[in-house]
């Protein structure tokens, strides 16, 4: 087997082993490459920044165990930004895993900022029905959530005393990996009621979300990169920024792999050296 054929037939375990190295080595030896802020992330930040203190945000926290690495950092950075600015957040979840992630991620952030459950943030839990469910909860929260996730009546929660539908909501923030989730919110919240929407989405959903920016969607965080940019904007380096070095090296490795194999294929077609 000559060199060209060896390049075109690298065993999968070798490819995987080098990939593991490119991901893990930067965790111990960070490169510390600078991160520039894209217009979509800046727009997301500005959408939160321009809201007056006390404004209410409805957050669809649709994390799943599989997606948490991609979109979780962006979601947590947005929550920290909102609560530190004095905004109130109503958490809901269109995925069955959502309530677990709200209860895992939000209390530590809220406690670090001295924000109280019921006054500064509430968690209403899971809702079924996808697009119809979203239409229904925007029309009447209490019909979909008779109680919050912790079993309290909605009337007992200070934050929800004057809010029972879309009218008190200033912004909708969506954390999701479902490519159809943002379009559903656009159809049910932005188009009929004119509520601004921002989102932290995974790489695959990003392509679906971008065509709606900036008219129907005010800002988008593109997976881990978006989360890293947001952390950089807030000057609070976290998991996303530390993960970007692994992204850099692994992407570079994939590109090198593609370039080398394609050059080898081209040379082989021509007879080779």
């Amino acid at each position: 087997m000559n060199l060209l054929e060896k390049i075109l037939n690298i065993p999968t375990p070798v490819i995987s082993l080098v990939l593991i190295l490119t991901i893990s080595v930067p965790m111990f030896y960070p490169l510390g490459l600078p991160i520039t802020i894209s217009p979509m992330v800046k727009a997301t930040y500005d959408s939160i920044e321009q809201l007056p203190e006390g404004s209410v945000v409805l957050m669809d926290y649709g994390l799943t165990p599989a997606s948490v690495a991609e979109t979780g950092c962006g979601g947590r950075a947005m929550i920290h930004h909102m609560l530190s600015k004095g905004l109130k957040i109503i958490f809901i979840g269109g995925g069955v895993d959502s309530p677990m992630f709200v209860e895992k991620d939000v209390p530590p952030i809220a406690e670090s900022l001295n924000k109280e459950y019921g006054t500064d943030w509430v968690h209403l839990g899971y809702y079924a029905g996808a697009e119809t469910g979203r239409a229904a909860l925007l029309a009447d929260l209490s019909k979909i959530f008779p109680k919050d996730h912790r079993g309290n009546s909605l009337q007992d929660l200070e934050l929800l005393k004057d809010i029972n539908n879309y009218e008190g909501v200033s912004l909708i923030a969506v954390v999701t990996t479902g490519s159809d989730v943002l379009p559903m919110w656009i159809r049910q919240a932005n188009t009929p009621y004119g509520i601004d929407i921002i989102g932290s989405v995974d790489g695959a959903s990003f392509s679906i979300a971008v065509p709606y920016f900036p008219t129907q969607i005010s800002g988008i965080l593109n997976a881990l990169r978006g989360g890293a940019e947001y952390e950089a904007l807030m000057k609070r380096p976290g998991e996303a920024i530390s993960g970007m070095d692994s992204i850099s090296l692994s992407f570079l490795y994939v590109i090198l792999l593609l370039v080398v194999t394609n050059v080898a294929l081209f040379l082989k077609k021509d007879g080779g050296p």
Binding site: I35, V68, A135, L258
Partner: protein, 202 residues
């Protein structure tokens, strides 16, 4: 007839400003829909348990052991939810150490499959394949900070690919598929598409 009445009623309420009592009726219909979906999840669970129970009973080779794992999972989580509640530390620990860990691991494994598949299949044999390859490499270098460290033009070029060719193509696809969905919607409302009530027969 039921589809026609409810469908047209919902469309009218969405597009035309109607008295609040009519809007209220539409909202009630929407909340019914969420109840129906929630019920369907329950039915789905029953069907799942029944299917896997049959596999276990028949000892279907290579499958029944996995079916036991599914049945245990389907029974344990609702049981814990109903007895100790979703906010108990035991339930949270069980979820984070079992479900969340397995989900994240499977997603991590996908990366290795993807890179292996890219290496074997992403080979430019024609000009359009080469263009796709170049565009994807530029977008990767736009996302990874190392791209900018190599050449400051990568982020600009990558953003241009996203802003113009990608958004333009996606908007075209979305508008075309919206027209298609509209046509299917009207066919369903007028009774020409009966798949939702007759199990696939139009």
């Amino acid at each position: 007839m039921i589809t026609f009445i409810i469908g047209f009623f919902t469309i009218l309420v969405y597009f035309i400003g109607l008295p609040s009592s009519v809007n209220q009726a539409s909202n009630t219909l929407n909340s019914w829909a969420t109840t129906i979906v929630a019920l369907s999840i329950g039915f789905g669970t029953i069907v799942l348990v029944r299917t896997h129970a049959m596999r276990v009973i028949k000892r279907r080779e290579g499958e029944w052991v996995y079916s036991i794992v599914i049945i245990i999972g389907v029974i344990i989580f609702p049981l814990m939810y109903l007895t100790i509640g979703p906010n108990s530390s035991l339930y949270k620990t069980f979820y984070q150490t079992v479900n969340a860990t397995i989900g994240a691991s499977i997603y991590g494994l996908v990366l290795f499959t993807l890179v292996g598949a890219m290496y074997r299949t992403f080979r430019a044999r024609r000009l359009n394949g080469l263009l796709l390859l170049i565009a994807s490499c530029i977008v990767m270098l736009q996302i990874a900070p190392i791209g900018e460290a190599i050449w400051s033009g990568f982020p600009i070029l990558g953003q241009w690919i996203i802003d113009y060719p990608m958004v333009g193509a996606y908007r075209g696809i979305m508008i075309a598929s919206a027209f298609g969905a509209l046509a299917i919607c009207f066919r369903t409302l007028l009774g020409y598409e009966g798949g939702h009530v007759s199990g696939g027969e139009g």
